[in-house]
Amino acid sequence: MDRHRNKATVLSILCMGLGQLYNRQFIKGLLFLIFEVFGVTYLINNLPRALWGIVTLGDTPRMLVKGKWVDGDHSIFILISSLITLLFLVVFIIVYVMNVRDARKVGHERELGKRANNFRQSIRYVLDYKFAVAFLSIPAIGILFFTIMPIIFMVLLAFTNYSAPKHIPPAMLVDWVGFGTFRNLLALKTWSHTFYGVLTWTIIWAILSTITTYFGGMLVALLINQKGIRFKGVWRTILILPYAIPQIISLLVMRNLFNGQFGPVNQYLQYFGLGGLPWLTDEFWARVTVILVNMWVGIPVSMILIMGVLTTIPRDMYEAAEVDGASGFQKFKIVTLPMILFTTAPTLIMQFAGNINNFNMIFLLTGGDPVKGDYQYAGATDLLVTWLYKLTLTQNKYNMASAVGIIIFLIIASFSIYNYRRTASFKEEDMIQ
């Protein structure tokens, strides 16, 4: 009785599409067959080299042949193309498994006396029942090649010695070094001093910037929302302005505003008889400036958010508090604050995580400066992310940059997963249906 099923399975294991042809699904079978032919040709041509590449990262350095330099293997290109081939192999295997499962399923249906779908019916079936998967495959390919592949690549780089000056292709080869890079970063004095310094500042920055903008925004929102304040809409529109101006512009402008020599901030200070401050050139003041400017940019966001929450707090909670004789401050402490905190807690965590990664703020405003002498390619206001950028683009320390990147990613990812898992939208979303 189970002849069809097993025959179809064996045939489609032998070669993609044969099982479908056996099931008399000719167009589908042909499509699988064509895919198999192209896939196998591609893999035969590329897979051996890809395996060789990912193991050795190339073995011919640049050589002098008859007085001329001839390029050898370019380790990084080899790594990338190996990775692409291997990803294709994964896709190929997935399609292969789909093909076998499909043949087996259709074979099983034939045993039960059903006629196999013709091509038109198959398409109809996919559109009706496998719609989501079919729909998602287009964005998924984009994400696979422009997000996931680069991430795998970056993770791999952390385990190589791809860095200036000794291991930069095409002149030199790159090798696998295992955990050597991480060991250097965490234990080698020159690197670890910078790493722990930058890490500490990153965390201080993330805490301070999140708290200042959050409570700043809360104060402004409460101020506007007070009973008896007129033109609430106008105040709100004016105070939203910093959020509406594109950051690239406002931060570059701020950089000029706080310019120690010509900037208006110091001009005003001098006008009032105070000495100018070294806003962007002194270690401490640069950090203060960065936090101040971040407040200017970030408070509007919190303000909007908290204003939104304020409108959702039920009136009767205040009335109940008033009956019990609560003062204005007590009402705020007992009703307003807990409600705001409760509703915005997930956003707060995300803002914290976002601030750890706030590249624009630091890069456009100070560029990480002022430079610190005992740091490896980092300045006083550099966050881990901007340090990573410098390591990559100006210093070519790719392996170190990748290691730093992995650490940032672990920090951020743990925050956001924790946050997402505990939000109700994830736990209870099926209730909405």
């Binding site: 422009f146 997000t147 680069p150 690549f153 970056m154 105070l239 690239i248 807690a345 990613f409």
Partner: protein, 281 residues
């Protein structure tokens, strides 16, 4: 009773004073840059906030200068922004509709993956994308930017758009299905017409992205003629901080004003987008 009134009056006066100070703080940089852009000369330094005389020379200089190809950059940015917006919104719609309406194996994993990948610092993968684009011969082209911006769009927008689609009652599409509508018909005839707010939100964020992103654009675009505004403006500040400040100011005004107006105009919508994440907590 009058004591209470007095206290109320004091409270309000103090609040107004604080509000005025905050408002000045919020407006000042914008005002300063606008006034700087119409001030004669090139210098950042000025004795007074209000210039003694006004000129529009810097604006015309932006479009005539040999070293600042502002008009060209504007067109480049516009092109990249429009195309990556169209493509990005389409991709985001597809993903968010699929994860909102269908239950399939690995759905929760997919959602978590989108969230985590969205957290990944974008330029960490820059070297890899750079090499990939080099392999594909796409360096120094705008298509490269469009592809990368658009393919990154689902990571940023899916969760918000999904939250929105979740609020559209399922009974609507079920009714249509009973009437024989296909998934595609449900999507185009029911979901899309109801999604105008989220569509506008996505279009806006996708459009503004290329205007403000410069890290990636700077990496990919090698020749000055191909630059986008962000790269050009950053270069102006970095190359000559004080020597050509007024020209920079004029450029900044031209970039910031349209986007700012757009933002103010669509304020309500953005507020909804921002708060939709929070209100479910």
């Amino acid at each position: 009773m009058s004591g209470l009134k007095m206290r109320n009056f004091l409270r309000l006066t103090a609040s107004y004073i604080v509000l005025v100070i905050l408002a000045i703080g919020a407006i000042y940089p914008a005002l300063w840059i606008i006034l700087g852009s119409v001030r004669p000369g090139k210098s950042l330094y000025s004795k007074t906030l209000l210039p003694e005389s006004y000129t529009l020379k810097h604006y015309s200089e932006l479009f005539t200068s040999q070293s600042v190809l502002f008009g060209q950059w504007y067109m480049n940015t516009l092109k990249v922004a429009i195309f990556s917006m169209l493509l990005g919104v389409l991709l985001t719609l597809l993903t968010s509709y699929a994860v909102s309406r269908f239950r399939f194996r690995g759905r929760k994993t997919a959602l978590s993956t989108v969230l985590v990948l969205g957290m990944f610092p974008g330029f960490m993968s820059m070297i890899a994308i750079f090499l990939l684009l080099k392999e594909l011969n796409l360096l120094d082209t705008h298509i490269a930017l469009i592809i990368v911006y658009a393919s990154g769009a689902p990571l940023g927008g899916t969760l918000i758009a999904k939250g929105f689609f979740d609020t559209i009652p399922r009974s609507l599409d079920e009714a249509a299905r009973i009437d024989g509508a296909t998934n595609f018909a449900v999507f185009t005839k029911i979901i899309l017409p109801l999604s105008k707010p989220i569509l506008t939100y996505m279009a806006l964020t996708q459009f503004v992205g290329p205007w403000v992103d410069f890290i990636f654009a700077k990496l990919v675009l090698r020749t000055k003629e191909k630059w986008t505004l962000a790269v050009g403006m950053w270069d102006m500040v970095n190359a000559n901080q004080n020597s050509n400040f007024t020209l920079f100011a004029a450029g900044a005004v031209l970039i910031a004003v349209p986007i700012t107006i757009l933002f103010m105009f669509l304020q309500r919508l953005l507020v909804d987008g921002l708060t939709s994440g929070a209100s479910k907590g």
